[in-house]
Symmetry: C2
Subunit: 199 residues, 2 copies
């Protein structure tokens, strides 16, 4: 039904996450109707990003320099490392403005089913950094799901003998959320993580 080049564009767009056939078609028709310069700017941005962006040689974050801006920032607290699964998680954490230490990107989480063991993650690099940098605390910010929890437990066991504090980000009710709509797992975690109210 589509001409070959439109069909190809739709096929390429469906490879993006969350983009099904319908959405890809809508995006493709938008591209067809937008000024040529806009479509070419998007194409150029795609090419450029793949050319320029690489992984930070320290933390594994995405950067256009050998070392990322966070790792090079002298105002950052060198005694804390926050361990995340993906570079995108750093963006979420930075947005809170609550964290001022360093990061370490694992590149995923342990998943025996998908064949992801410690060797597939940047665990060795984490150990090397802890030894070299005199880290006092490692905050594990892997996702609150089976793989993230497994990874957290694995890292905690691995790091404790080194005499550093290993903490895990809290699970619980989202701020502004409603008990009524919370799933039982989240609610259970929220109960488990209850804290004494300062009054």
């Amino acid at each position: 039904m589509f001409s070959p080049s439109v069909a190809n564009l739709v096929a390429q767009l469906t490879r993006l996450p969350g983009v099904g056939q319908r959405t890809a078609q809508r995006l493709a028709f938008h591209v067809l109707q937008q000024p040529e310069a806009e479509a070419l700017a998007l194409a150029a941005a795609l090419v450029e990003v793949k050319e320029r962006v690489r992984f930070c040689d320290q933390c594994g974050n995405l950067t256009e320099e050998p070392t990322c801006a966070i790792c090079l920032d002298p105002r950052r607290d060198r005694s804390v490392i926050c361990v995340v699964e993906q570079p995108v998680d750093i963006v979420s954490l930075e947005r809170t403005h609550e964290y001022h230490g360093f990061y370490h990107v694992l590149g995923g989480a342990l998943s025996p089913i998908e064949g992801v063991g410690p060797e597939q993650l940047r665990v060795r690099e984490l150990l090397a950094r802890i030894e070299a940098e005199g880290v006092a605390e490692v905050i594990i910010c892997t996702n609150p799901n089976l793989e993230g929890d497994t990874t957290s437990l694995y890292l905690a066991r691995l790091l404790k003998p080194l005499g550093i504090t290993v903490t895990r980000i809290a699970s619980g009710l989202p701020v502004g959320g409603d008990l009524e709509y919370a799933d039982e797992l989240t609610l259970g975690r929220a109960l488990e993580g209850r804290r004494v109210v300062d009054a």
Copy 2:
């Protein structure tokens, strides 16, 4: 927070319909993590589509040839023209496999607020085709909203003196839908468009 090339890609992606800051960021990170060949294939598809695709010289559909495949198809019924707002509407109608006539793309709908009058739409071209091709029926498939309805009324008044049947696609309850969840406008249209049941 993003490196310049990532920030640029995110900005380009937010120009797409339905893509906000969050979605653009998720797409950009996907592109960063996918193999380079995939990102370049998407970029190339964008460039190619803008190079190759043009408007059909007959109906205004998108095509890679001077005239689109539908207008060139000898098995199509030359006595009916279905008038749509956009090329993408042709895709939806073709998917029904219920229509075998020709199409005519207006390129929008009448909207005094947005400054779209008959001169901004392909109305003159429609009149020329009707005269040249001996059309018996024009089915108006503009969207069932204010602009689409206005356009429909305008075209009906314009075409009736030419002695051709002008029909409008039916509005009503979606198949598989539920009376309970239908909005009152749709339900009103569905009542208005009621038909005698053959029994």
